[in-house]
Symmetry: C2
Subunit: 313 residues, 2 copies
């Protein structure tokens, strides 16, 4: 294993689930001497100062990045272009600029042109998260055993890529490098489409005439609740994901719709064999995910089950 990297000063622009988890993890692992943070709202900045995890909370992006060796934008994808333009004049020569956005093609397109010569631009996407957001939601262990995908543009300094790779590895992540376009296709199916579907079905359930919302909530343990967790993710972040990865999402959606039509037809025709064959195949995929440690094999993701003896209160 490589030695953990050390940065003199890192700047985190944005302190939500991801920014807050990077700060906590970097501190816990001793990866940095000083962490400077900013956030758009005064309320968040006040809360971050109160939490006492970072060294300094400043009011502007310009101030945050001054003299920083590593700058990470932890903000929605749609805000990254404008912020890159804003901080460009203040970036230190030799600094690494990165982000954590769930879309990479748009990030390279929107941020890339603003990055000055002599500053290294290494976009990154830690594939980790929970349904919570805000400055209190982060935790140092969030990235352990999760993947972090780097998508450096061609010609990026290999030393800079390596330092960022080691930084993420020290936070517990497994690091992979791919092109921005391939990243966006992979994430469209593994993350963006699942979110879109979950958002849709939870909305559908909310507006039915025949079944009340309180019934939906009451009987959600039959499957529905697993979708609501995903559909509780941060609305601003996800709006930006769909707007900026439009083509790949629409492409995956087309395939999904065809497959849904096939299963619908099987139901309508009473074709039990086709259903059984499909359901057997999907079971094997779950097995693969549990085997490589990307999920828990415990039933219900290890959701706690109360004790029978304790029930009668």
């Amino acid at each position: 294993m490589n030695a953990a990297p050390h940065f003199q000063r890192i700047a985190l622009i944005g302190f939500g689930l991801i920014g807050g988890s990077i700060a906590r993890g970097a501190r816990a692992q001793g990866l940095v001497s000083e962490i400077v943070t900013t956030a758009r709202s005064e309320k968040t900045r006040a809360r971050v100062a109160e939490l006492g995890i970072v060294d300094r909370v400043v009011a502007t992006n310009a101030e945050a990045v001054r003299d920083a060796d590593l700058v990470i934008l932890c903000i929605p994808v749609g805000a990254c272009g404008p912020v890159a333009a804003e901080i460009a004049p203040y970036l230190k020569k030799g600094a690494i600029v990165s982000d954590v956005g769930s879309v990479k093609g748009a990030i390279v397109r929107d941020m890339g042109p603003h990055i000055p010569d002599g500053v290294h631009f290494v976009p990154a996407h830690p594939v980790a998260g929970t349904e919570h957001s805000g400055p209190d939601s982060g935790f140092a262990e969030l990235f352990i055993n999760r993947w972090c995908i780097l998508t450096p543009p061609e010609g990026t300094d290999a030393g800079a890529v390596n330092r960022l790779r080691e930084f993420w590895a020290a936070l517990g992540a497994k690091v992979e490098i791919m092109t921005p376009d391939h990243h966006d296709l992979v994430l469209a199916i593994t993350s963006h489409l699942p979110h879109l579907i979950a958002y849709t079905i939870v909305g559908t359930a909310d507006e039915l005439a025949q079944v009340t919302s309180s019934e939906v909530i009451k009987f959600s343990a039959g499957g529905f609740r697993d979708f609501t967790r995903i559909a509780a993710s941060d609305p601003t972040m996800w709006r930006d994901v769909f707007l900026s990865n439009k083509d790949a999402v629409l492409e995956m959606l087309g395939t999904f719709n065809e497959d849904l039509s096939k299963l619908t037809r099987a139901i309508r025709r009473g074709d039990g064999e086709a259903l059984f064959e499909h359901f057997t195949r999907t079971r094997a995929i779950r097995r693969g995910i549990v085997e490589i440690g990307q999920d828990s094999a415990a039933p219900d993701f290890g959701r706690p089950h109360a004790n029978l003896e304790k029930k009668a209160e």
Copy 2:
């Protein structure tokens, strides 16, 4: 609280996740003097005997129900009609016959006509489960704080309904009574449609040309893995659910498709406002589910997160 009911002998036909959990729970709570079980395959029967949870494992359904006060069919919905016909001549006068099927209209239609006079027919559906199946997968706590819906046909003996209600309450469940048709609509949206969608998307991911299956598995933590858990549920059970609740599922699917088209159109047109509004609304529904205790508020359903210090092995 009512005193827990006591049955002299209960017969469980089928010993998968649900049958096995009933046996374990009834034993733990002392609800029964004798549990007799059967299962279709010899392998399962041998394993059940080995587990030592029940008093007797017998080879036929007829033998299982003889002299039982409570008979529960814990088998796929499609098998319930034929089994009802098979056991009818052997049922004890005054016995209660029930099931655990996820569809209730079809159960009433298929089982009802076979139940002899003097035997009480009280269909039931415990809305609880995990993605595991088989005789080893059950546990006594599965039903705690979950709903169990009873759908007794009109004119069913109130005393029998009450005894079954108390039995489920003693296993930890909250019991509700509704008509079979309403049950099937409620479950179509809270359980059947989510399963169909999950089965579809997991299948879609498996057959893409641009993204390999191993990439899908690797990067599944971005949302996809939550769908795979549902899509790993028992194929036979789910085939029967879709075949026997066809109308309600197709109706909900129609509404879902309309909503998905609306969101797709918003993405295609770049309508961020419509997306943001929708995503904000769905978040509130998640809050409702957590508030009434039908899910854990812990991030990732409380999935374990490894410790940073322990990581470097």
